[in-house]
């Protein structure tokens, strides 16, 4: 067997790469969604001074290349703040922030889609702000947001491939390694592409089921 041949061990490599990609995706999704939600709530309650900052930062994150953000975090922050940063830390930070920016916009429009009048009704009936947020705003905003959020997350899954550039051993990086060794780019990248495709389709599928369940449990046709 020549060095350049595919070996069964390559499958293990691919699975490892996929594992890194998925772990990073899940981690940044959890952080990003929570942070985006927090930003939307802070924005909603007009916490003094926060609105313009949130809007400027999220706009910057949404409208600049993720690769540039990644370089800024990985090379820029250590140079500027004299701290060490591993590729995984830089990748986690960057993609979490990026997901948070998109999630913020979706949660914000979810909250804004709720008519003021309902909230006023809840207020005059004596419900506290926290209860209004939990019982009136959150369920409706969630039903509104779940579809667009799944769209964003499917996209973010692809975006994680960028982190291979700074040396994270994700699926794309493994593809790179296999490609350099076998010099069979067509096969390697087709397989890598197919794995991403399958992962994205699976995510979209389960997302769609969650969305359907949410809409079914909330039969109020209006949203």
């Amino acid at each position: 067997m020549r060095y350049a041949d595919f070996t069964p061990y390559d499958i293990v490599l691919l699975l490892q790469g996929l594992g890194v990609t998925l772990a990073l995706f899940v981690g940044t999704t959890v952080i990003g969604l929570l942070l985006g939600l927090l930003l939307a709530v802070v924005h909603h309650y007009r916490v003094p001074g926060c609105r313009p900052v949130i809007v400027v930062v999220t706009e910057a994150l949404k409208n600049s290349p993720v690769l540039v953000q990644l370089f800024l975090v990985f090379f820029g922050i250590p140079a500027f703040l004299h701290v060490r940063m591993t590729p995984v830390e830089a990748a986690t930070l960057t993609i979490s922030l990026n997901t948070a920016a998109f999630a913020f916009v979706i949660f914000r429009s979810g909250i804004e889609s709720i008519e003021r009048e309902q909230i006023e009704a809840a207020e005059v009936f004596g419900l506290s702000r926290a209860r209004i947020l939990r019982l009136i705003i959150a369920p409706q905003a969630a039903a509104f947001a779940v579809g667009p959020l799944i769209g964003i997350l499917v996209n973010q899954l692809q975006v994680t491939s960028l982190i291979s550039v700074i040396g994270v051993f994700d699926l794309t990086k493994i593809g790179n390694i296999l490609n350099l060794r076998t010099l069979q780019p067509f096969i390697v990248w087709a397989v890598i592409g197919l794995i991403y495709y399958t992962a994205a389709k699976t995510l979209a599928h389960f997302g769609g089921r969650i969305e359907a369940a949410l809409r079914k449990s909330a039969q109020w046709g209006g949203i």
Partner: protein, 244 residues
């Protein structure tokens, strides 16, 4: 007792309420009349604390609505029915009705639901307890809105043009319920353009004209030639309503 003293409300520098004085004693039905834009809704929204006063004072059973604790107590004492229903669309009719009793009055769920079902039965909607607002007609939604208010067992019911968004047939359903409530001695502050109905159920009628409360009379006096009808603006307002 609801007491409004020299209430002022400005939006920006536009005065909307000008030194309004109004007292509503328990058992009274006080109807607020006035042209569109005269400040009727704003007055209701000042009483239930949705607008902050620019001047003057409102108390509900002695609780000042411009203080935090006072507003909480005042909101316990009164309940509002809205022109556009303002139901929570993600909750069933029963869910809408039981939300505040459970969360605010801390009633056990079963008790709140029993109370809610009894109210729905009273307004002829027992079959719709599990319907979502979108599945109900306007008149049915407003009856749910009334149940939601009554479930809080308020001492004062604030009603802001509760039939304006309904067609005549449904208006009748809602007005019949309000007439029953009035006959039971429910205290109401009632904004409406249903003049004949107001005449029928009100103990007093007040008239707002561009933010000023220009007339406050017992119902019979309001409709007397030498009473309310002697005020040209009111005569004009009433004859215009008849034409519409």
């Amino acid at each position: 007792m609801i007491v409004a003293e020299n209430v002022e409300k400005r939006f920006g520098d536009m005065p909307v309420l000008k030194r309004v004085n109004l007292t509503v004693a328990p058992g009274e039905v006080v109807t607020i009349l006035g042209a569109s834009g005269s400040g009727k809704s704003t007055l209701i929204r000042c009483i239930n604390g949705l607008e902050q006063l620019s001047g003057g004072r409102i108390t509900v059973d002695g609780h000042d609505v411009s203080t935090k604790a006072g507003l909480v107590a005042a909101r316990r004492a009164s309940a509002t029915v809205f022109q556009l229903f303002n139901l929570y669309p993600h909750m069933t009719a029963l869910g809408n009705i039981t939300l505040a009793p459970i969360e605010v009055l801390k009633l056990p769920k079963a008790e709140a639901e029993a109370r809610g079902r009894a109210l729905l039965e009273r307004v002829g909607l027992s079959a719709h307890a599990d319907a979502y607002p979108q599945q109900l007609s306007g008149g049915q939604r407003q009856r749910v809105g009334i149940c939601r208010a009554l479930a809080m067992q308020p001492r004062y019911l604030l009603l802001d043009e509760v039939t304006s968004a309904l067609d005549p047939e449904m208006t009748g359903d809602v007005l019949r319920i309000l007439a029953e409530l009035a006959a039971d001695g429910t205290t109401m502050v009632f904004v409406t353009h249903e003049i004949e109905f107001a005449r029928h159920i009100s103990s007093r009628i007040v008239f707002l004209e561009q933010g000023e409360l220009i007339v406050d009379l017992p119902t019979a006096d309001f409709f007397a030639e030498e009473g309310g009808l002697a005020v040209p603006r009111i005569r004009q307002f009433l004859s215009k309503l008849k034409k519409d």
